[in-house]
């Protein structure tokens, strides 16, 4: 600990640790190019698993479902969550604490319990709606009975994204300078204009990152979707069913593509970040 920077032990340790993180992924990617189905013999180079992946209807339709689901749920969660963050910040201390604590439930609860509890809710709803539609007057019997499928998935995804939106936007709201808003009012804005012209642009980065977080959580979620999807298959669920059935290097091909896409997104966003920072730093120097 005396001279931590550049100590050989530390470097060796970090190299071992990162090998542990990345070797399995590298092996997975290498075997996506394997001619045979073997997971230990490398018999020759091929792209055929990528080709068959792009003709695999199960995977493709799962991919579209996941993307649509992620987009819709992220948009709704971002809008409702941002509104909520603003509303909550105007509340008294007591109700704020209560709401914050309830918001933490889905964050800290094991995902399997969130999934199971939502599944029970949808099953109960289906039963109740069926009963109602049978017994109520015809013009009142309009409750949908088949909610398990896309509606239940959408509700589940919005539910687990909402708290993350609030926890992302609320701190930014606290940091915001109230005087900016007051200045806008003094300069003749009404409340609505002041909100859209001053407050919202100020919050925009936090709202956008909340949107991105929701998007990734939704695309990545397996456990909660597993309990609320009925017979639909999101991408992670399709992956799961692939790993349960016979071995196919298509999974490796899919992993490789997903890893490269993620890597590209992260590198691009980091590049944009550092560009922006440099630009900002440059501006500061000029001033």
């Amino acid at each position: 600990m005396g001279k931590p920077r550049g100590s050989a032990l530390m470097r060796a340790y970090l190299v071992v640790l990162f090998s542990f993180f990345y070797l399995p992924i590298v092996v997975l990617m290498v075997y996506s190019f394997n001619e045979s189905k073997s997971r230990s013999n490398f018999t020759g180079f091929t792209f055929k698993w990528y080709e068959s992946l792009f003709h695999n209807d199960m995977i493709l339709s799962a991919l579209w479902l996941s993307l649509a689901l992620a987009l819709i749920s992220a948009v709704i969660a971002t809008v409702v969550g941002t509104m909520a963050a603003i509303g909550i910040s105007g509340m008294g201390r007591k109700s704020r604490t209560v709401i914050n604590n309830v918001s933490y439930i889905p964050v800290v609860n094991p995902e399997i319990i969130t999934g199971v509890s939502l599944m029970l809710l949808f099953v109960a709803w289906s039963g109740a709606a069926a009963w109602w539609n049978q017994h109520a007057a015809a013009f009142l019997a309009f409750f949908p009975e088949d909610v398990i499928g896309f509606p239940s998935l959408l509700i589940a995804h919005i539910s687990f994204c909402l708290p993350y939106v609030i926890f992302n936007v609320a701190p930014k709201l606290r940091q915001m300078d109230v005087r900016l808003y007051e200045a806008a009012l003094d300069l003749g804005c009404n409340h609505r204009q002041a909100f859209f012209k001053v407050v919202l642009p100020e919050l925009a980065p936090a709202i956008f990152s909340a949107f991105l977080i929701s998007l990734t959580y939704s695309i990545d979620d397996f456990i909660i979707s597993y309990f609320t999807c009925g017979t639909l298959q999101t991408l992670p669920i399709a992956i799961y069913s692939m790993t349960r059935k016979k071995v196919s290097p298509e999974i490796n091909a899919l992993s490789t593509i997903m890893f490269l896409v993620i890597l590209a997104i992260i590198l691009l966003s980091n590049l944009a970040d550092s560009r922006r920072n440099r630009y900002k730093a440059g501006k500061k120097v000029e001033v």
């Binding site: 920077r5 997975l28 909520a84 309830v102 094991p110 319990i113 397996f222 993620i262």
Partner: protein, 290 residues
């Protein structure tokens, strides 16, 4: 600034219907039988599954301890790097987390198989010859014809899967706390005559305590409730609570009441764990992870 509290109403209604009510339904099912009458039978029945609960707790605890031991030096060294390098290293820690955990677990499945890559590697290193030779020398009761190490479908493989999947969740909160520790605090301890061990136990660990407790929760909770890792790496013999619950709702056992009771017990376990590690539900409870 005028902050209209009505803006929060849609969210509040949403959370009541889709967070609070579902949990109440779980509680309702846990304390009723199939006919809807009040009963404690479900909770009593859980007693029969005590070994599974114990195994879950044990494996999750093992994974958590291993994660803590591995992550502590890693996070400390990361926090002492130059800022530029820290950013790169942090990205490297987070990058595998972005891969779906099913794929990460699948990767280990192929590595740990009896004729998988690791066993072939061991074979190429003549490790089995060595073990067979040693066993031959030691005594007649030991096998001398090993051709592979059984790794998949063992409890060890499940722990490995947990560690691999959740190690970043330990490194990140530790790092977030440690980055705030000034080198001068360590130097002060050194000047006052503390040795490395004393610095560790009297300065570093106490200062990192918030990160440690967050990390423990972030690793223990998903580990104790997982059903995928145990199913993919543990085979049939290493069932965990998660598998049991899943069986009651989507599997062959199909008993909502028992499954709800199990979920309730699992929730209590998680709450106790959080009580012990004192993870606050406060604003920085999940700091550094989201």
């Amino acid at each position: 600034m005028r902050r209209d509290t009505r803006l929060a109403y849609p969210y509040v209604v949403w959370m009541v219907i889709f967070i609070a009510v579902p949990l109440l339904i779980v509680a309702y099912f846990a304390f009723t039988n199939k006919a809807g009458q009040f009963t404690l039978e479900n909770l009593r029945q859980i007693g029969e599954y005590a070994p599974v609960f114990l195994r879950s707790l044990l494996l999750a605890a093992r994974a958590t301890v291993i994660c803590l031991v591995l992550a502590f030096p890693a996070a400390w060294w990361l926090s002492r790097l130059r800022v530029r390098h820290q950013r790169i290293m942090l990205m490297l820690v987070m990058l595998p987390m972005w891969m779906n955990f099913l794929l990460r677990t699948y990767a280990w499945m192929t590595l740990l198989e009896n004729n998988g890559l690791l066993n072939r590697l061991f074979g190429a290193m003549h490790l089995f010859d060595l073990v067979n030779g040693i066993n031959g020398l030691l005594g007649a009761s030991l096998p001398t014809n090993i051709t592979y190490f059984p790794m998949i479908n063992t409890a060890g493989a499940v722990v490995l899967g947990m560690v691999y999947n959740y190690l970043p969740y330990m490194i990140l909160p530790l790092y977030t706390i440690m980055v705030k520790i000034e080198p001068s605090e360590i130097e002060a301890a050194q000047d006052l005559g503390a040795n490395t061990r004393q610095i560790l136990t009297r300065v570093l660990i106490p200062l990192s305590m918030p990160g440690i407790s967050t990390g423990i929760t972030m690793v223990f909770v998903p580990s104790v409730s997982t059903f995928i890792i145990s199913r993919m790496l543990g085979g049939g013999g290493n069932m965990l609570v998660g598998d049991l619950i899943e069986l009651q709702f989507l599997g062959n056992s199909y008993n909502y009441n028992l499954g709800s009771a199990m979920s309730l017990v699992l929730m209590v376990i998680v709450l106790l764990c959080m009580g012990v590690t004192n993870t606050s539900g406060g604003e920085d409870g999940i700091e550094g992870v989201v």
